[in-house]
Subunit: 441 residues, 2 copies
């Protein structure tokens, strides 16, 4: 039989144990915080009906992966590319089986057929937390408080949650007197202000959306809004959008969120109002949030979300308000690696029981089973090294904290030799003493 | 826009929170035991090259799900249908980056396009633990000890791990003097002996594989082997397969496993030798194991495995011995439900803070954030009920253990009213006392 190349398709990736051990710790940490905020887990299939995923929108054609059986229909089912559409489907289909408000989290894999580039994968993991069924801003504030808690618990200290409201951006056309159809293009242009000088933004506004000088001046006044304090920014926005009701509504929602964040003790240094935040234009209907790592601004937001009150409109005529946020695990994990927040571990062993003395063969098997019964992650050495020395160097290479040694003399005396590979200390002792030592660590 | 039906493709399934909460607990329990036995987590993509998955074998055509992008190659990539082939690919491709022996576990989803039937899904989860790189029977014994520990820790008390060796079955043709090509068919026939009377088995052996009376008599003597004690069965097998070297080798391996299981304290009541166990014929090369739930025999094995020394032969000329076992989560979980081993929970909340007194609005937000900082899973009531009574019945319906109530009088006195919904006891107390009460549970 011909040998098959053991390779992966482009854009897919293995997680070997030394990546997977800290990744799993990260997932556990995320779950703990989500549950502390009262979110419950939901799981949905990776494969959905294509129509459910795309809503018939041809734009998704570039990104989608279809799933088919030989001879079957080639495009009726596909791999999910987000966790929000499956949530909407669940909300639309289970009715009363799901009580509202529904605070759900979901951790899962997604697939997107993006053009391959460094650090971008076609299969990746995402963690979403959403509150479904609450129209008021308390829910938005809770999502922001969750983002803040999670960033802190994961060990980040320099981050900024930037908050805006789509309703303010939707007021721009009235404020600067341009046709509302131009709004999205204009937002996309001014979104680049952190990378480009104003002169370039100005030319783009002239060329791409034919704004005149008065209009451009108004846009400039909007983008110039800065402030040390959240109140200052909100007051400046209020002044600018005076009597533009949609924007005023947005500003007042942000004021409400501010008061709730204060009540929940979310530090004012963790977040700000930033009127340049837009977050994927078509989707959101109210407040939007993103999280910037201040030492790694170039990687973009690691934890983002917002309010999207049209959640289930694809599936039902119900009106269901919702707000939530998504955490991209791969980007977050790689940021944590860069910032030294990841402890790499090659294995999960607390103790390795060596196995070099033929007379002690049954004894060491018994010992390893006792260690396990006492809750110690442990294994019997079963590699190809037959000597104490060879097995010890394996343990050192694998960074096992403790080795348990039973040679002929230990066997005769019914004791073990416990060796701490960190301190290089070694002690002859009873198995009970050894177990206590390993548990203490 | 037309409304899209919020339905799943046939054979796929959602896990709503009340299923997902205990499922997650199950996954956590499995991980804990796997790690206690020194297994490290590995993760591989759900999508692999089709050639990697099938090795070019056309037989998989019926089961495979291809993954393709619009306009792309339709069958070059597919969803994985087991976790063993990805393990083999990893072993073949990372060389020294993976130290041997490699004890890895993997928990993941698989897809198989099986004909739809009740309780069978096309997407399902599986947990595998394998030891790669150990030829000796100690590894097989460790896998069996792992199976035994896990079954016990999950709460099963009536189960039986049935152990056999493919080498014994491979000795059948020499023992009963039939052509070795008939072995697989004959095994498949006698495998039905627990459901069919001997007379039917006998006719099948005559009709399907043309065995004569002497041959059939020999087969009967083999299937008649029973025994209270493991030794008795092994001795009977030894007598039957006298000087049939492949079978003798298999029997001696089982004796070795028995001595290791004894050394590891695995109770003799947890396992037996059962010469009818065959486990997917082509795959295994040595000992095979399966786990029967004695109160639910009809569902088949929930945790099965064996030795397969040809692991990486598809990808390389290396000879890599391996032994492992797979746990099918859906079957296991449904068995646990039937046996009352699953605690259904609708949510993860330890406390719900009610929110009915407008004056206390900020106070209750503050309280919920303090509870969370103290590690209590908690949420603020944000549903549509505005009264104490309405919010309380929501909490009762959701089975929340504690509610924290702040009405006008509690607000003025700077205390809270803690209500235990289990005991219906309620106490006015300070927030600190309330927190202590909730933590005690």
């Amino acid at each position: 039989m011909a040998i098959v190349e053991p390779t992966l398709p482009g854009g897919f990736k293995d997680y070997l144990p030394e990546d997977m051990i800290p990744r799993q710790k990260l997932f556990d940490g995320i779950r703990t915080v989500f549950e502390r905020f009262g979110f419950v887990p939901l799981d949905t299939p990776c494969v959905e009906r294509s129509e459910v995923l795309t809503g018939g929108d041809a734009e998704f054609q570039k990104q989608i992966f279809y799933v088919s059986q030989p001879g079957g229909d080639k495009d009726s089912t596909a791999l999910r590319f987000d966790l929000t559409v499956p949530l909407a489907r669940v909300i639309a289909s289970y009715g009363d089986k799901i009580s509202r408000p529904f605070r759900r989290y979901q951790i899962g894999r997604l697939w997107r057929g993006e053009r391959q580039q460094a650090g971008r994968y076609r299969e990746f993991a995402q963690c979403d937390a959403d509150i479904v069924g609450v129209a008021g801003m308390k829910a938005d504030a809770e999502i922001i408080a969750l983002m803040d808690s999670l960033m802190t618990e994961l060990g980040f200290d320099k981050y900024l949650i930037r908050i805006n409201n789509r309703k303010i951006l939707n007021g721009l056309s009235e404020y600067a007197s341009f046709e509302s159809e131009k709004t999205n293009t204009i937002i996309r242009i001014i979104d680049k202000l952190d990378k480009q000088p104003w002169s370039e933004i100005e030319s783009e506004l002239k060329e791409k959306v034919s704004l005149n000088d008065t209009q451009i001046e108004k846009i400039k006044a909007f983008t110039d809004i800065k402030g040390e304090k959240q109140e200052d920014i909100l007051n400046a926005l209020s002044k600018l959008f005076w009597e533009i009701s949609i924007a005023e509504e947005g500003i007042s929602e942000l004021r409400e969120i501010m008061s709730y964040l204060d009540a929940m003790g979310v530090s004012r240094t963790s977040w700000t109002i930033d009127s340049s935040v837009a977050r994927g234009l078509g989707y959101y209907t109210g407040p939007v949030f993103e999280t910037q790592l201040l030492d790694l601004k170039e990687i973009g937001s690691v934890f983002s979300g917002g309010r999207y009150d049209g959640l289930v409109s694809r599936f039902s005529k119900q009106n269901v308000p919702a707000v939530g946020a998504s955490l991209g695990i791969d980007r977050l994990f790689s940021a944590m690696e860069t910032l030294g927040l990841v402890e790499k571990k090659k294995n999960v062993l607390q103790a390795l029981v060596l196995n070099f003395e033929p007379k002690a063969e049954m004894k060491v098997m018994q010992i390893v089973s006792i260690l396990r019964k006492r809750g110690i992650n442990s294994a019997l050495y079963q590699g190809s090294e037959n000597t104490l020395k060879g097995q010890l160097s394996y343990a050192v290479k694998e960074e096992v904290p403790f080795v348990v040694i039973v040679g002929e003399s230990e066997l005769n005396e019914n004791i073990v030799l416990t060796k701490n590979l960190g301190t290089r200390e070694q002690v002859k002792e009873t198995l009970d003493e050894c177990i206590e030592r390993i548990i203490k660590g």
